[in-house]
Structures are given as C-alpha cells and as structure tokens.
C-alpha cells in the first residue's frame, strides 16, 4: 500500500504500456474482456467487448469480491488467494492479483480455455509488475511529480461541480 504513497497516479507512458499488455493478453488468451482494477475498485484500463458490460460496476464488484476473499484467506491463516475463478454456463471470469495491489480480470467463453488463460495471464502479470515497479520508482524520485491539477482549486470550482 505504501509502495506508491497514498494515491495511485498513472502517467501517459505507463498507461500506454499497461494498455499494450492488456491488448496482447486479450488477443493471446482469446478473451472477451480483459481489465485491470486496483484493489479499491477503481478501473485502471480495459480492453475488449466493453459495450456489453457496465465496467464501473464490474470493477467495484470485483474489488469487493477480492476484498471478501482476502478476508477469508486471513481468517484461515493464508496470505491471499492469488487466483479466483468463476465458471458460468457461457462466460467465465478469471481473477488474479498483480503486485499485491492490482487485480487483473479476464472474461472468456468457450473460444478459449482455462489453461490458455492461465498461461497468458502469468506472462501479462509479470509484465504488469514491471510497469508497477517503474511507477513506484518514478513516484519515489522527487521532482518527478507534476504539480497537482488541483493545486489552485477554488470553492467556486467545486461548487460548479454540483450545479448540473
């Protein structure tokens, strides 16, 4: 958690790398949807057939699912269950933890298989961890962070948000 400080900040370069990893995973695993969420339920990136799902809800429920499962793991003395798999009649969901902080979700149907998904997820997870490490070292380097976009926020700015 403290690896990046309190806020998760993604810049252009890492965002592009993350998107590239997801795009490759989506292709290689023959998946319908691939997405990356942080453990608090914020969607970071996604690839695939997104029109058919409510991605925001999916992200939040995935995080809730992982949080509950983490709680169960601790109860029985495990650190975490690093992979969750839900099998449906048509679609299946494969959920894995990346770098302790992110959740990688793959939704796939009979055009793929659990074995293939597992294999490709392992490779993608390793690449994503590299990106995470890069983000962490960037965050650690001082002077790297641009001024917060909210540095000069005024009460009027905030009031304007609620007037629609």
């Amino acid at each position: 958690m403290t690896m990046f400080g309190p806020n998760l900040i993604v810049y252009e370069e890492e965002f592009e790398r993350i998107n590239a990893v997801l795009a490759r995973l989506w292709m290689d695993a023959n998946a319908k949807i691939v997405f990356l969420v942080d453990k608090n339920g914020q969607q970071i990136a996604a690839k695939g057939d997104l029109e058919k799902v409510d991605a925001t809800s999916l992200a939040s429920l995935t995080a809730g699912n992982v949080a509950a499962t983490d709680g169960l793991a601790r109860l029985i003395g495990e650190k975490e269950f690093s992979i969750l798999f839900h099998e449906g009649e048509r679609d299946n969901i494969h959920i894995s933890i990346v770098g302790q902080r992110l959740i990688l979700v793959v939704i796939f149907d009979e055009r793929s298989s659990l074995g293939l998904v597992r294999l490709r997820v392992r490779k993608a997870a390793a690449e994503l961890e590299e990106v995470l490490t890069q983000m962490a070292s960037k965050a650690a380097e001082e002077g790297q962070a641009p001024a917060s976009p909210f540095a000069e926020i005024t009460d009027e700015d905030i009031d304007a948000l609620f007037t629609e």
């Binding site: 806020n7 810049y11 592009e16 914020q42 409510d54 809730g64 509950a68 641009p146 009460d155 948000l161």
Partner: protein
C-alpha cells in the same frame, strides 16, 4: 486513496457512508441516484439481504464533471450498519478518501450512534487512517420524526472535530446533497495539497 490518471485526465475518489443500522445510509444513495442525470451516474449496486438491509455494500459511481480539465468521479459506498457485519465494514473503508457519518436522530438510537462512531474510529485506524485527519462530514438524519433528539444534544455527543454537520430527511432529500458536497470539497482540497 484516489486514483489520478494523467493519461486519460481522470480522477476517482472514494467516499464511504458510515453509521448505525437503519440510520439512512442506503436512502442517501438512493436519493442521489434518483436526482442525478443519467449521463452523470452509473448503476446503483446494492448487495442487500431479503429485507433490504445492506449485506456488503451499496455502490454508486457519480461523474461530477470537470475540474481543471480533469474528469472528476466519486465512488460512493455505504457500509452495512448492523453490528455483526464489522469485518465487511473494515474492508469497505480500505482506500477511503472521505467519510460521511449518518446518525439516526431518534433517542432510542443514541447508543447505536455512539457505538458506530467508536467503531468508525477503530476501523479507520486499522486501515491506517485517523478520523481527526480524514475528510469528514456528519449528518443527523430522520429530522422529520417526532421526538428527534435536539440538534445541540446530538452535536455534543457526535461531533468530533468541528466537522460540517447537516440535518437531513434522506427520503425527501433534505440535507443529502449538502452533506455529500461538504465532503467532496474536503477531498478535493486534500488532493490539492499533494
């Protein structure tokens, strides 16, 4: 823990509604959901029991428009207020950016209010937060009920740090947006310091 994406120019923040069972947390979210334009909201997800008590959480994503060119999204969560769901409450506070405490104004719920507030303090601490520092607002809900405890009495019992405090009737929307706005404001100000 907010999430700032400089590439897509988005910022996401998490706000949690806390408080005793049946205090009106879910009702706050329902009102916000009803009164928000379709393009500014996602689905309201409620993981609830057969009797409409929150079982794990309610979730409502709100898109509030842009600040300084960044799309600002708030993810609103409620916790289950019933005492025995403590493990779930703890999980939901993870990575929180701001908290709204919904107190029940009924005399008979005073002990439950105080107990829930204590529980909030403990669970925040276990997640690495300090109630004294976290963006925070207080809501006295159910002001419409006859025999509601006077404002001053509630204030003395429940206000912890001079936080903004609002009287509310959640099903009618009284005080609902005011409370949310008070916390959102603190959250965004907090971000400006980072």
């Amino acid at each position: 823990m907010s999430f700032i994406n400089y590439a897509s120019r988005e910022i996401n923040c998490k706000i949690v509604y806390y408080g005793p069972g049946l205090g009106g947390k879910t009702t706050n979210l329902q009102y916000i959901y009803e009164r928000t334009n379709p393009q500014n909201k996602g689905q309201l997800i409620s993981l609830a029991t057969e009797t409409d008590r929150t079982l794990f959480f309610d979730f409502l994503p709100l898109d509030l428009g842009s600040v300084r060119g960044f799309r600002t999204r708030f993810h609103l969560y409620t916790v289950p207020g019933q005492v025995f769901y403590d493990a779930s409450r703890k999980l939901i506070l993870k990575g929180v950016d701001g908290v709204i405490f919904v107190a029940d104004s009924q005399e008979a719920r005073m002990d439950a209010n105080v107990e829930s507030l204590d529980n909030l303090r403990t669970n925040l601490r276990e997640n690495g937060f300090d109630l004294a520092l976290v963006p925070y607002a207080l809501q006295f809900n159910k002001r419409d009920l006859a025999g509601a405890v006077p404002y001053d009495v509630l204030l003395r019992a429940l206000n912890v740090k001079g936080e903004p405090t609002f009287e509310a009737v959640a099903p009618k929307g009284v005080g609902v947006f005011e409370t949310l706005k008070a916390v959102a404001k603190q959250v965004l100000h907090e971000l400006s310091k980072k």
